[in-house]
C-alpha cells in the first residue's frame, strides 16, 4: 500500500483524470444468443460479460426456498484475465465476491414472485484491472433487466478510494495497488440505500464520509450509462418488429 509512485500531481491522477472523474464506460445489452439476458461492459480496461438464466426451478430440491427465489450470482475470472494466469475455478476471493453481489442483487429483485426458483447470474471477467466487483455488479444488473426479471430498482456500483491523502473516485490499477484505501459501494439509485459496501485501507471518519458521498455520486453517473444502454436496445426494437 505504499511506494514511491506519484499518484497525484497538479490536481490530476496518473491517467490524467480529475479526482471525481470516472474511467471510460461502455455498455452493450443483449449480446448473447442463449442467455435470457446479457450485458457486455467495458470500464477502463475491465471487460465483463454478464448473463442471466431463470427464474427456473432450483435444483437440487433441498436448495429451494418455498417463499421466494434464490439469487445465485457467480463471479468468475477467466484464467487469462490477469497478469499471472489464474487457475480456473472459484477461489476464496471470487466466492466472497459472488456472495456479496448475490446479496446486493437479492435486495432489488422481486424474489417473492418466484417461490422455489433460482435466478442465475453469471459474471465473467475477461480482462481485469481494478474495480471488477463494481463493474460485475453493474453489468449483472443490466443483464437482469434484459432478462425481464422484475426489480424494484436497477442497482449500480462504483468505488471511491484514497490516494496520497486525496479522496478520489473509481481507482485505477496503479491507484488500487499503491493507494491507501478502497471503498466499493453498490446502491439502489432511487433511494440511495447501500446494498454493498466493503472497505480496505485507512480512512478517517471525515475521509470516509467524503468517500462514501463520492462513491454514491459515481453510482448515479454509472446508472445513467446503464439506462442509456437499455434504452438504446429497446429503441431499436420497434424498428425491427414493426
Amino acid at each position: 500500500m505504499k511506494s514511491d509512485v506519484k499518484l497525484f500531481e497538479n490536481g490530476r491522477r496518473l491517467d490524467g483524470r480529475k479526482p471525481d472523474e470516472l474511467r471510460k464506460i461502455k455498455i452493450e445489452v443483449g449480446v448473447l444468443h442463449r442467455a435470457e439476458g446479457s450485458c457486455y461492459l467495458e470500464w477502463g480496461n475491465n471487460k465483463i460479460l454478464a448473463a442471466v438464466y431463470g427464474p427456473r426451478e432450483a435444483i437440487p430440491r433441498h436448495t429451494q426456498n418455498p417463499l421466494r427465489a434464490i439469487v445465485n450470482a457467480r463471479y468468475n475470472m477467466a484464467a487469462f484475465s490477469v497478469d499471472e494466469r489464474k487457475r480456473p475455478g472459484p477461489d476464496r476471493r471470487s466466492r466472497e465476491i459472488s456472495k456479496v453481489i448475490s446479496e446486493a442483487l437479492e435486495n432489488v429483485i422481486l424474489v417473492e414472485k418466484f417461490p422455489r426458483a433460482t435466478i442465475d447470474v453469471n459474471i465473467e471477467v475477461l480482462d481485469a484491472e481494478a474495480g471488477t466487483r463494481c463493474a460485475g455488479l453493474t453489468a449483472a444488473a443490466v443483464a437482469l433487466v434484459d432478462a425481464g426479471i422484475p426489480m424494484r430498482d436497477i442497482p449500480v456500483a462504483c468505488a471511491a478510494g484514497k490516494i496520497e491523502d486525496q479522496v478520489v473516485l473509481d481507482l485505477g490499477k496503479e491507484e488500487d495497488n499503491y493507494g491507501s484505501a478502497d471503498l466499493p459501494v453498490a446502491i439502489s439509485p432511487r433511494t440511495n440505500e447501500i446494498l454493498l459496501l466493503q472497505m480496505d485501507g485507512h480512512l478517517t471518519v471525515e475521509e470516509f464520509d467524503k468517500a462514501l458521498d463520492l462513491a454514491i455520486k459515481g453510482c448515479h453517473i454509472v446508472s445513467e450509462f446503464q439506462k442509456k444502454a437499455i434504452l438504446e436496445k429497446y429503441r431499436h426494437i420497434p424498428k425491427e418488429v414493426g
Binding site: R95, E103, I194, L195, Q198, G201, T204, V205
Partner: protein, 260 residues
C-alpha cells in the same frame, strides 16, 4: 422459513419498537467479553474469546517458507476459519462454505490491511526464507457475532505469539512484532433498528450486517456489509460512531488480557 423464526421475529421486533432487546441490553451494548490467552501448549500463540455464550479459539502456528514473488522481503500470513460441527447443529463437516470463507477473509483483511503484523520484520533471507504465520480460527460455540469473536481471538493470539526462532536455530524466541490492533465491531439491522453484537436470535432475523474495524485513533481500517438488506447513509455513520466507542472499550480489555 418455518413458523418458529417468524414468531421469533415478531417478538424481537415488538421488543425493539419499545427500545429493548431480548436479553435486556441496550442497542449499542455488548455482551460480557472474556479473553484467555495461552490456552494451547502446541501453538506459538493462542486465545479463547467468549462473547456471551459464543466461544472462539484462535491458534497461531509459525513456520519458515518462501516469500511471495512480489514482496520478497516480507513474511507471509494466512487465515483460515472452520465452522466445525461441534459449534452448532447447523454447521456441517466438509470444505469451507461461503460463510466461513467470508468470516476468514474479513478477519484476514482486518489484520492485513491495518498492517498489524510488521511483515517486513519477518524476513530471514530476502527472496528465499521468511516467517509464515498461520492464523487458525476454531469456532467452539456459536451464539452469534462470530466476526467480532473470531477477530478478537485472532488479535489476542497474535499479541501473545512468540516467534519460535529457537526451534529453527535462529537465536532466541521473541514476541511477534506488531503495531496497534484494529478492533472489529459488528452490527445488524432488523425492522429499521440497528443493534450491536447480535446474538444468534438476532442474527437469525437480521436483514443487513455491518462490520467496522477501527484503530486507536478512531480511524476506520476495514468494513464489510453483509446480507441482502440495505443501510441508509445515516445508519452507516451511526454504526461507525458506535463502533469507535465500543472499539475503545474492547481494546482496553484486550490490552489487559494480554498483559500490556
Amino acid at each position: 422459513m418455518t413458523v418458529t423464526p417468524l414468531l421469533k421475529r415478531d417478538y424481537l421486533v415488538k421488543l425493539a419498537r419499545n427500545g429493548r432487546r431480548v436479553d435486556g441490553r441496550g442497542f449499542e451494548e455488548y455482551r460480557d467479553i472474556k479473553v484467555e490467552t495461552n490456552v494451547v501448549s502446541k501453538a506459538e500463540g493462542s486465545a479463547r474469546v467468549r462473547i456471551g455464550n459464543t466461544q472462539v479459539l484462535a491458534g497461531i502456528k509459525m513456520d519458515i517458507g518462501e516469500p511471495y514473488p512480489d514482496s520478497p522481503d516480507s513474511g507471509v500470513m494466512s487465515t483460515a476459519a472452520e465452522l466445525i460441527p461441534l459449534a452448532s447443529p447447523d454447521f456441517e463437516a466438509g470444505p469451507p462454505d461461503e460463510e466461513s470463507i467470508e468470516l476468514a477473509r474479513v478477519v484476514d483483511r482486518g489484520i492485513r490491511e491495518s498492517e498489524l503484523i510488521e511483515l517486513d520484520k519477518l524476513c530471514i533471507e530476502p527472496g528465499e526464507k521468511v516467517w509464515v504465520i498461520f492464523i487458525d480460527i476454531h469456532i467452539l460455540d456459536h451464539d452469534g457475532n462470530l466476526f467480532d469473536a473470531a477477530s478478537l481471538a485472532s488479535l489476542a493470539a497474535l499479541m501473545t505469539t512468540r516467534v519460535p526462532a529457537e526451534r529453527f536455530e535462529l537465536g532466541e524466541d521473541y514476541p511477534l512484532p506488531l503495531k496497534d490492533p484494529p478492533i472489529s465491531c459488528t452490527s445488524v439491522k432488523y425492522d429499521k433498528v440497528v443493534v450491536m453484537d447480535p446474538s444468534l436470535d438476532e442474527e437469525d432475523i437480521a436483514e443487513a450486517r455491518l462490520t467496522v474495524a477501527t484503530d486507536k485513533n478512531g480511524d476506520i481500517r476495514a468494513m464489510q456489509k453483509g446480507l441482502n438488506g440495505s443501510f441508509t447513509v445515516d445508519e452507516i455513520k451511526k454504526v461507525i460512531k458506535a463502533s469507535i466507542d465500543n472499539g475503545k472499550k474492547i481494546r482496553e480489555q484486550l490490552y489487559k488480557s494480554v498483559g500490556k
